[in-house]
Subunit: 412 residues, 2 copies
């Protein structure tokens, strides 16, 4: 039997799979369009299922359409360790987002099989359904699928019953897809960073501290539309002057908080929006993200105090409406520590960092221990055909995933 | 012969004319729609022309369609004194905007005629063409009509040749409408304020210091659109954060300058304008108005310095494009002094104030001595069927106009 700490994945095989999958949905401009539930999604699932079986995984599809491959373990009656990600893309996606995590998972199993290694725990590799839109796969597994299909963020014109049927799932039985800690002891996802933090820091691996939570509000500012010529400055109730103060307050709140929270006004519209009329109404969105629920709450409280002060100072009325709230999903400490220790042993440079984009691991973290491994995205580009992570870094990520599972197998 | 300083207009007759004209173009909701060159405009001109003739005015229409009534003076070969305004409205206009100035002018002449008073100078009452849109009437008289009809701000779908023909004008001969100081020695316009300054100050008459100039620019801010989750605050080039600083800088520039300049960002659009994307581009307009060209120049210089500082601080590129410039049109000092003295003698309270909206007097001020008299607009409302000035205040304005011409007749 091989010395486990020296096991390494077959990089050529992994990159071969990644490059083969990149042909499915490839557009003339280089982007990849492989939307969930489409023919391209099915074509990709078909290929991945074959590779799973070749790697010795036993394959099934749950009611949410999640494709689950299981590499049997030595012990009976113990929960699985699990990895995985997604193979659907945004309309103009790249070759690595999601795909790397799925194929590296299969490669980890194939490496174990090639070396006649079995873990004590079963090891699952999961292809989650529709990560890029509804996240129905991961949310079903976490027992968080909404009662009404209307509350699913499905692409326009789709029907969830038909969608799931097309990929072997079953909306009627969706609750059977739920898993728990008794079934999955730990979940670790490898993913490209989709940002430029690692590249800027010159690090090879990101040890993810958790997936940030998000609070998105719509803010409506009511002033008084008025003639921009005849209304003296001190008689104005200018909704845009108030909005400008809100935009800067939102930025300042993120800057003064500890850690690295982000806060963004990405959407803003003015009415009546004419050069010669003092703005009477502005609508804008505020999007706050951080790893710490406490920090998010503090930012929200600060924002509300600022809004009250701005409304008074500008003689406007400001109302807020919560439109989206996703609590943060912290990574389990001992999984973070394990990943960091693996990096050190493999002589790979690493840093701890939050994930500021959503991932399947976010939902899995709500039901069991969770960790994530990031590898760099060149120039931070993602959701684009120009998304790129060099083969060396893909393979480094897969090796960290492999060694992490070998250690978790001893810990759980 | 009457004691001139005790002469007063016939208020009932004036209000009768105003109320009669308000029926032309009256909509079910109370607004008045009497767009220039329409059948309603012609109907109103027809009525006004009759009232002019009844008041002893000799009537003609110039090439720009301006309806000009002349009350002959005692002296030959001297330039006229002139008053007037407009009878066209915006699509949802009121009963006083423009109309008061025209009908008070006719009433002034009718009062002189009733009292067998003749001035030394001819006195003209002018109905200017299309004040609410192209200002082609006043601009032609000032010799400022553009060579190309495309440069006239005519309502969509109209043809200036046809428009002028419909009201007795002639585009081919438009240059013959030009007047000069040799033909008109002084022009004084009575108008409703269209703002709430007089009402707030509790004053009966506004002695207009001049009509403010306007500089309107389009500002384009280029940042970098980016993921609102994965882009740390210190890596952003947020065009909306830059724009917010511009909005506040524009307001602050107006607040710190001497006098009462106004500065407005009325139009602002964000791209891509999505809650989860750091804004990459913002376009906005800056509209600066003041009575003093020097003040406007200083504001512009200050704005440009602020834009440079904001671009540097936010790592964005900011470009500006001038889209409209109208120089200020100051009222003649001795006409302002005369109006103020008349108010004092009539025991009417008055304040000096700029006009921040455009008027026919603005263009007349470019060719001869000019003054304007404001009466209050209830709640500052204008361009609405709810526009209202009580009869007492309309009549006070007409009496100030009458006494002002009696004095100017001695001064010119």
């Amino acid at each position: 039997m091989a010395v486990l700490s020296r096991l390494g994945v077959n990089g050529d095989r992994l990159m071969g799979w990644i490059n083969r999958l990149a042909k499915v949905g490839r557009q003339p401009n280089g982007d990849i369009c492989r939307l969930a539930f489409t023919q391209e999604d099915l074509q990709a699932r078909y290929l991945v299922q074959q590779w799973m079986m070749e790697a010795g995984l036993t394959v099934r599809t749950d009611a949410a359409g999640n494709l689950i491959g299981t590499y049997a373990g030595l012990l009976d009656g113990v929960p699985a360790l699990a990895t995985g990600s997604h193979i659907d893309t945004v309309p103009s996606g790249g070759a690595y987002d999601g795909v790397l995590g799925v194929l590296a998972g299969i490669e980890v199993v194939k490496t174990l099989q090639d070396n006649q290694v079995r873990l004590k725990h079963p090891l699952e590799v999961i292809v989650f359904t529709d990560e890029e839109s509804s996240m129905v796969g991961a949310r079903s597994m976490a027992g968080l699928v909404p009662e009404s299909p209307a509350d699913l963020k499905l692409r326009d014109g789709l029907n969830i019953t038909d969608c799931l049927e097309a990929i072997g799932g079953n909306w009627e039985a969706i609750k059977t897809a739920k898993r728990g800690r008794d079934r999955i002891a730990a979940f670790v996802e490898l993913h490209v960073e989709q940002g430029a933090v690692l590249e800027r820091a010159g690090k090879e691996i990101g040890v993810v501290q958790g997936i940030v939570g998000m609070r998105r509000s719509k803010i409506t500012i009511l002033g008084q539309a008025n003639h921009a010529g005849t209304t003296p400055m001190d008689m104005r109730q200018d909704a845009l002057v108030a909005a400008a103060q809100v935009v800067l307050a939102v930025r300042d709140i993120a800057l003064v908080m500890p850690g690295d929270p982000v806060a963004t006004v990405g959407y803003l519209t003015v009415a009546p929006n004419a050069a010669n009329i003092v703005p009477g109404q502005v609508e804008l969105t505020v999007d706050i993200r951080d790893l710490s629920q406490g920090c998010m709450d503090a930012m929200q409280a600060r924002l509300e105090a600022e809004l009250r002060a701005i409304a008074t100072a500008t003689d406007t009325t400001i109302s807020t409406e919560l439109i989206l709230f996703v609590p943060p999903s912290p990574a389990t400490d001992r999984i973070q520590a394990t990943i960091a220790a693996v990096c050190e042993d493999l002589h790979l440079s690493s840093i701890s960092m939050p994930s500021r984009a959503g991932h399947d691991a976010m939902e899995m973290g709500r039901i069991t221990d969770m960790g994530m491994i990031f590898v760099p995205s060149q120039q931070g580009l993602s959701h684009s055909g120009r998304e790129y992570t060099p083969p060396e870094q893909c393979i480094q990520g897969a090796n960290v995933l492999l060694q992490t599972f070998l250690r978790l197998d001893e810990m759980y």
